[in-house]
Symmetry: C2
Subunit: 247 residues, 2 copies
């Protein structure tokens, strides 16, 4: 059921963005293929009142670059339309009251879950990140500081940890910008290694929404933009989350 459902949806289209291919930036609608506006998705996502812990808040492990840029973007939430996204322990918390479409349901009975990018709980040890989203510009900024448990080559972040951070930033952006739910493809070109404990700034843009797919690009670089760490593109499939029936 799971397989048939997801594959059938993917078969709807076969276009894929190729690395290096020219991007087209059409006028983006604020409404997705399914009719939910970005504003309503954002307001459901950014709960005004919740007891859930938000992991996207400064802590003692954040380097000065990360703290400064966080404050800078926090100011922009007041004046320039940026929104700071909360980051809970699990995606289950982000989609409360909703469930995945097409019978895609968890079969395991384990009760302790974590979203991969919040899998480590000691501050500074693993992923430290915060995502800011701009609804009308359909873009995101992710401030990412890899910890020593994300190592690949000695002293540097594992390429896979950056790949996962890009996928996660694409994922949240795709969902809020147009109900993009599933990664169809992810293409990354690595340029430089990220030193553990330093800041990488990920700039994500939604390039176009077409045939139920969102095409996005990302550049990860140092704060001063003098060092590019990697460039990537990602394609996400639009699918509407279903309302859960109350028992």
């Amino acid at each position: 059921m799971i397989r048939r459902g997801f594959q059938a949806v993917i078969r709807l289209g076969h276009h894929r963005v190729l690395p290096g291919a020219p991007h087209i930036l059409p006028r983006l609608n604020r409404t997705s293929a399914f009719g939910s506006s970005t504003d309503s998705l954002v307001s459901r996502f950014c709960l005004e009142k919740t007891d859930l812990k938000d992991y996207a808040l400064p802590n003692a492990s954040w380097c000065p670059d990360m703290l400064n840029l966080y404050q800078e973007f926090l100011e922009k939430t007041k004046t320039d339309g940026w929104i700071k996204l909360p980051s809970f322990k699990s995606n289950r918390d982000h989609i409360q009251g909703l469930k995945l479409p097409f019978g895609l349901a968890a079969t395991s009975d384990k009760s302790d879950w974590r979203i991969f990018t919040r899998c480590l709980q000691v501050e500074g040890q693993g992923y430290e990140y915060v995502i800011f989203f701009h609804p009308s510009r359909k873009k995101s900024i992710c401030l990412f500081q890899p910890g020593p448990y994300l190592e690949g080559a000695p002293g540097f972040a594992h390429g896979g940890s950056l790949a996962a951070m890009m996928d996660e930033t694409f994922s949240k952006t795709a969902y809020l910008a147009g109900e993009g739910l599933f990664t169809l493809s992810l293409n990354i070109r690595f340029k430089n290694l990220i030193p553990v404990g330093s800041l990488a700034v990920l700039n994500v843009d939604v390039e176009k929404i077409e045939d139920q797919k969102l095409y996005m690009s990302c550049i990860a670089q140092s704060r001063d933009q003098q060092r590019v760490y990697a460039k990537s593109s990602g394609v996400f499939l639009q699918l509407q989350l279903e309302e859960e029936l109350s028992q």
Copy 2:
């Protein structure tokens, strides 16, 4: 220094493998561009005696599919030339006595490091995996079981966790097959979600070694090969690790 060194090396070549492009499988040499044979790389990598903990051994969290296939490949290590790779806490343990070339050295003084794919220590919670490598066929098999802390969509592994697992399997294969050290590109097409706690089998092949680059492909699927989870390609840059000078 770091940036100049790595970028300068990357500038040696600009070819990139494109997803969907035809792969060419030439006769592969057992010797890399630098003269180290696969056999000598493997024997240095697979330490006969060590006190280091090998994380690529069965534990109580492994599902029956994973245990069975592990035993199957362990038999093949006796008869068919496969080698089970050890998996230590950090890449620092894997390259003892060696250091990265071109001044790529750790600048942080943190002493507790972990390779990203061994960042979680509770059995079954995060990455469970073991890699088998076949030196003369230049291919690898990775048995991968994602735990509940690797979640993306509720009940399924995060796409980024599979991306990282692919990158890590490419990485070890590239190093042993021809001193491939750094990921230049990683292109993934996702087909189906991997249920948490189940087995995904990653088949990695070195397609060609050319211009100091290794071109690899991977298919991740269920044990019965009836469900493809993702296909990917990766390009790694050949660089020789340097002998450390004794103090």
